[in-house]
Symmetry: C2
């Protein structure tokens, strides 16, 4: 593709995206009739031997790809979690691809590192997070990870390093380490622990209360048992907004146990933490002043296109201890004097894109006011929906709904609820996902797409009522 072709095709791609997003309601949220293998079978089995014009690719996007997508930006997408792509963040991703620089070390592209550090500090201010997470604090700092899964793994590795005084890098010995979370925590906690050599034998699922939140007294009891058994409690993950039901673990009380026992406290607020952009929801930050690490995802509720997870720690030395490696081909003066941040030592991979441009573009061009307004509207719609559900006694609401997720079920039981989800999704008019809470199947009604309005929520609810 020549530069002139790139200009022409680039304009066409920009137009295509505008038409896709603005016309997204013309598509079903997803096509429930799709069978595994169907999309692939419609594409050439072997690579082409001749080049094709870009218009052919755009045509196939329309005919072969888009019909095979689940449209996460669709206003009737009530499944999983929000995943919007703001126009400004799309342009930043385009800039990132065009620049094509590597930010693994400061010296490999200084601006890539310094803008990222600044954006983490801007976000600390905008979210009202503890000062000790700032990069200009004594021991803290922040970094962009691809996902909360990677942030969690980094937190576990830092905790593992600190709990063993760094010995784990030498011996790999994790045999005494025990971690604590709940059955409601995200699957990435178990995955991260498993990767780090902490098997399920040494993962404790702390009992939960009526609201599916961790019981701190039970945490203290389990820790005491493990201590008595000669084990080393080292890591607790407290969730601020669980995936299943948006439960909030009581971090201040959990922190008391962690401080007493010298355990690393990680708070996972991947979905809900962004609510703190609106000051009235700053309660989602409760207890963060005691956390060793924290993550939340602008690529969920802030409209920054995936991937953009923000990870802060109050103990960067432990993170660096766990992840630093300095081969000869990466040495530089800046790295050796410690004057510069080398983000490769803050993450699992070596290479890294210039992802902070997404925040820089978005905060400058759009500001946070539209995000605050969107969050408030999604919360309002969730409360409105709850009011409707409460008037239909075939349904029951299973959990508190302080923000934008409502978990409901049919009183008729699990099979009826599963059936309802399947039938609703089969219409293509809306998309819901299920979960299990207290052994009972629930429908998650997650309201988080930028384009979702009251009309869409009402239509989603009417659909459920008509199928119930």
């Amino acid at each position: 593709m020549t530069p002139e072709e790139f200009r022409t095709n680039g304009y066409a791609m920009i137009d295509w995206i505008t038409n896709y997003i603005e016309g997204i309601e013309r598509y079903p949220v997803s096509d429930p009739s799709l069978q595994p293998g169907e999309i692939r079978a419609a594409l050439p089995a072997h690579p082409p031997t001749h080049t094709e014009p870009f218009s052919a690719v755009l045509h196939d996007l329309d005919t072969a790809i888009v019909p095979g997508l689940t449209h996460w930006q669709h206003p009737a997408f009530f499944a999983y979690f929000p995943s919007n792509s703001s126009y400004s963040s799309i342009l930043a991703e385009l800039a990132t691809a065009g620049l094509g620089v590597q930010g693994m070390s400061w010296v490999t592209s200084p601006a890539c590192t310094e803008v990222e550090t600044l954006m983490l500090d801007w976000m600390q201010e905008l979210l009202g997070l503890p000062e000790r997470f700032r990069s200009d604090s004594t021991t803290g700092g922040g970094v962009i990870h691809g996902s909360a899964s990677e942030a969690t793994l980094a937190a576990i590795l830092a905790a593992r390093w600190r709990a063993t005084g760094g010995e784990v890098n030498i011996t790999g010995d994790t045999s005494k380490l025990v971690a604590y979370t709940t059955t409601q925590a995200h699957s990435s906690i178990e995955k991260g622990l498993r990767i780090a050599g902490v098997g399920v034998d040494r993962m404790r699922m702390v009992p939960i209360g009526d609201t599916f939140a961790m019981l701190p007294d039970e945490l203290a009891r389990l820790v005491a048992e493990d201590r008595a058994g000669g084990l080393t409690p080292f890591f607790v993950c407290s969730s601020h907004g669980t995936t299943s039901s948006m439960a909030f673990d009581p971090t201040p009380d959990i922190a008391t146990v962690c401080a007493r026992e010298g355990m690393w406290l990680h708070v996972d607020a991947a979905m809900s933490g962004i609510a703190a952009l609106a000051p009235e929801y700053r309660w989602v930050n409760e207890g963060l002043e005691f956390a060793d690490s924290y993550c939340t995802n602008p690529h969920k509720w802030m409209g920054i296109n995936f991937d953009c997870d923000l990870f802060w720690t109050a103990d960067r030395a432990a993170l660096l201890g766990a992840l630093s490696i300095l081969p000869e081909y990466l040495r530089s003066k800046a790295a050796q004097t410690g004057a510069a941040i080398d983000y490769r030592d803050w993450q699992i991979p070596l290479g890294r894109r210039f992802r902070s441009l997404k925040l820089w573009f978005s905060i400058r061009c759009d500001g946070v006011t539209p995000v605050q307004e969107m969050i408030r509207e999604h919360v309002r719609l969730t409360q409105l929906l709850a009011g409707w559900v409460l008037t239909d006694d075939r349904f029951e609401i299973m959990t508190p709904y302080p923000l934008n997720l409502l978990c409901l079920r049919l009183r008729a039981g699990d099979a009826a609820t599963d059936n309802l989800i399947e039938q609703a999704n089969a219409t293509g008019q809306a998309l819901f996902t299920r979960t299990v809470l207290g052994g009972q199947t629930c429908l998650r009604f997650s309201i988080g797409a930028r384009l979702t309005t009251e009309r869409h929520v009402a239509a989603g609810w009417n659909l459920l009522q008509s199928l119930a």
Copy 2:
């Protein structure tokens, strides 16, 4: 940003990128006078309270960001490794951001999974890789990772799972496992092993020969010692093109030891594997028919913008055993029947972008001919350069140079060579990185940018000669 503003700003961003890439020679490769903190200090310390027009962001890209970049696409960029962004792959990244879909499971966006599977099969054909890596083979398959670091970690985890019969997921016990590679392997091998609970105490650096390649007899000797010591040799990483000097470990002989001892054989060809797009360089694939896993990076020499690492395994069951977790909120019929691939179980994170579009756009619009021609030209330039170096007896060449990397040094010694690198980089006219081979400082002259021509290589060499 409104849809209409997005169109206007999007065109401007496309133009900006075209001008950036086509005018890249107007910049120094990097600015050696930059001090840590300088870029950040020139930007607002706090987030803005009012929104700004997109033109202000573009202006600041020019004035505040670009001067702080190391330009990886610059034709005089001879540092690290190639990292080009082809125009077609930039447009694909734009499409990915615009679509904003999640490919963690088949059901979360079927096309995202199926196009990826197809692209891995296309690339198997284009690179001439073993059939057993294909997704339609009995036990194999491929996936896109963000980086070779993540691919390596995935390979280690699969190996760990297989060597313990899956027990590691339960017990976390890695205490008997021993891994083998060389001092020349990429730092991500050590990092991955450390993350997986294999400390440096159980990492063996197998002795290397004159060409910095692993000595298989030494591998066999170390494995026997470890067996005698009651340990379990489980993982070998063979490098096809090391980072320091592009050394090729002798995989067929290494494979013999691996097969006898039941060890997982991972081949890391992150940089050099893409050479196999040109049939005459298919020797880079030697021994892959014996490998349990393999990775190479289109985001290096193929011109696909970062991130795009291709990872294949001949034992997908081990990979899935290591990384599968199925919480209630991710269950689906497609996943439970096994009819569909859920790529979240092939990687470290849960979330994933629609990265395969980068390959799909590029292979269709550009084909592989331009990449083959570029690779051939880079190899020709490297041989030409070597010829020039051989005529100047102040310099010596330290390693074989079968592809596009020349490692050279001043006979005057380490200090002189270090000084030469520093002085050359201080001009901003070219950028080199250093390494240490056999205890001696070397200058790496890596020829891999799409825009690099004979003129640039000659200028780089003349610069070195004039400073020597």
